[in-house]
């Protein structure tokens, strides 16, 4: 099986240093970057699938020139090569452009499955993986908690998270799957994997390599961020110091007043 995984470099949530620059675009110098959390789960699922069924995992990333550093972290886990879409004309790209560009890059690669995170931690679009499926005219199996391909039959089944538990959905391959944490925690890299990743191929693609008309001229994006505000600081909490039985009653009353119990 050939699996393509969308891996986006995002500011490391653990560093807590994510911020926007003066142009209201992500200040990429402010924070170290890591592979987006849900994309890591997608990558882990992909690696397990090729371990079980054979084949290889290739990663696809749209990022500035230094995005290769984060791509190496994904390669260290076991992906065999990377495709790095990078072009200054894509700085600050909106969702439709990002989707069109990634779809164009994916169309140049043969694959049975294309996996991506359900969303990313540095943006609230949550539409890229689904959008790529729409652009390519491929079936989308969303919010995957388990992936069960049947390569011989050319079909794949996905357990999709639902309010009731799981829905079992099926589609012919090639197909696109959006991935969640329910797939299972990503592995840690081995030191040999890290060393091997340094020499794995990362092919660079510019907009010109992918075709015409993918991005609007002069960065005329459909949407742009015009302001950014931090969340409102929460008011100080209330401390209850009464004896246990009284404290329990006070807490229950407090919650009942707000119709929380």
């Amino acid at each position: 099986m050939q699996i393509l995984v969308l891996t986006k470099p995002v500011p490391d949530p653990a560093a807590g240093a994510e911020r926007l620059g003066p142009d209201n675009r992500l200040d990429r110098a402010a924070s170290p970057t890591v592979v987006n959390g849900n994309d890591e789960y997608a990558l882990e699922a992909a690696l397990q699938l090729v371990e079980a069924h054979g084949g290889e995992v290739v990663i696809l990333t749209m990022a500035p020139a230094n995005g290769t550093e984060t791509m190496r972290k994904a390669l260290a886990l076991g992906a065999v090569r990377g495709i790095h879409v990078t072009d200054e004309a894509l700085a600050g790209a909106d969702l439709p452009t990002t989707i069109r560009v990634l779809a164009a890059a994916a169309a140049q690669e043969p694959f049975d499955l294309l996996l991506g995170g359900l969303d990313t931690s540095d943006g609230a679009g949550g539409a890229v993986t689904a959008g790529v499926a729409a652009c390519l005219g491929l079936p989308l199996l969303s919010a995957a908690a388990a992936i069960e391909p049947d390569p011989a039959a050319g079909r794949v089944r996905v357990r999709r998270l639902s309010a009731r538990g799981y829905d079992l959905i099926e589609a012919p391959m090639p197909a696109v799957i959006s991935c969640t944490q329910a797939l299972g925690a990503p592995r840690y890299p081995s030191l040999k994997g890290i060393m091997a990743a340094r020499s794995r191929q990362i092919a660079s693609r510019s907009l010109a390599d992918l075709g015409e008309g993918l991005a609007p001229a002069d960065g005329a994006w459909a949407t742009k961020v015009v302001a950014s505000e931090p969340p409102v600081t929460r008011a100080a909490g209330r401390t209850i110091t009464a004896a246990p039985a009284d404290a329990a009653r006070e807490i229950a009353d407090f919650l009942a007043d707000r119709r929380l119990i």
């Binding site: 840690y188 890299p189 081995s190 030191l191 040999k192 890290i194 060393m195 340094r198």
Partner: protein, 381 residues
Amino acid sequence: MRLTEEQQLLRDAVRVLADEKIAPRAAEIDRTATWPEDVRALLAKHDVFAIPFDERHGGLGSDLLTLCLAIEQISRVCATSGLILAVQALGAIPIQEAGTQEQQDRWLPGLASGEKLIAFGLTEADAGSDPSGIRTRAVRDGDEYVINGTKRFISHGSVADYVVVFAATNPDADKASRRLSAILVETDRPGFKVTRVEHKMGIRGSPTAELAFDNLRVPVANRLGEEGQGFSIAMKTFERSRPGIAAQAVGIAQGSLEVAAAYARERRQFGKPIADLQMVQAMLADMDASTESARQLLYAACEAIERGYGDAARWAAICKLVAGDAAMRVTTDAVQVLGGYGYIDEYPVERMMRDAKITQLYEGTQQIQRLIVARSLLAGS
């Protein structure tokens, strides 16, 4: 000192393993004083054992500094676990330095993968700092040696698959330094016995064993180097192994410093965090300065030893001396910063203080390190 990109990548990967997988185990490993087989499996799975071995033996072919970076990162959260790497290197160095191609091909791949463990059997009850007092005998009988004797304080002695045993093959040699030979003993041979596992103050998950050899027979082909070279092989080994203990010490110091600094920011007395008090700030600053000085000295020592500048014994002794003393001082101060909470096992600093002490004792006491430095300084003058 500027680390290479490779050194930084490997260090950071080991740090993540240490923080996320080993740190949560450290208190329990200490409390129960049990060998952490799960940590050994983790280090094997992620190729951490492979760092100091040649690529042809399945290793990463990395340098001494890279190994020390890994030991430092693991010891930052668990000194017992950091020691696993240091002891594996200690036992492997005699094979790497004195073994034939055939011996290396036979034993090193299992050590590089972490499937096999090795221990270093030099110390005896009456021969610690002075190995010339070693009484264990290896008597040649055809193609075999027959070994009789007892070793004491052997790290990993009860879990190792191999022990490099230093035994007297030439007890009547003119020079005391020509009495010994280094012989690799597989621990499943008849006559090998673990007679005791010590109850220790620190590094409590690391089994320190007494080993007895009772007419234990090994092929002569298990001897590393020539007969009578044992002492020089042991001394040569320490030149590359002592930096590992310095790295363990730096890691322990760093770990306790981080706990103390975090605690000082949170602990409030007199209406403000104790980190706002200058007396506490001064302690933390001195702890940081001691730790960083020891670290930079260790890194410089690794470079000097790796490049073969010729005074490797001096560099190895100086870095262990400085780092061991720094670790003892810094961890003691960390307990002081935490006050009463530092003295109980709810916080890790009392464990770190107990663990730090061993770095002043093993692989040559601090007094022996000073002796080596003074000898090097005064030689030829």
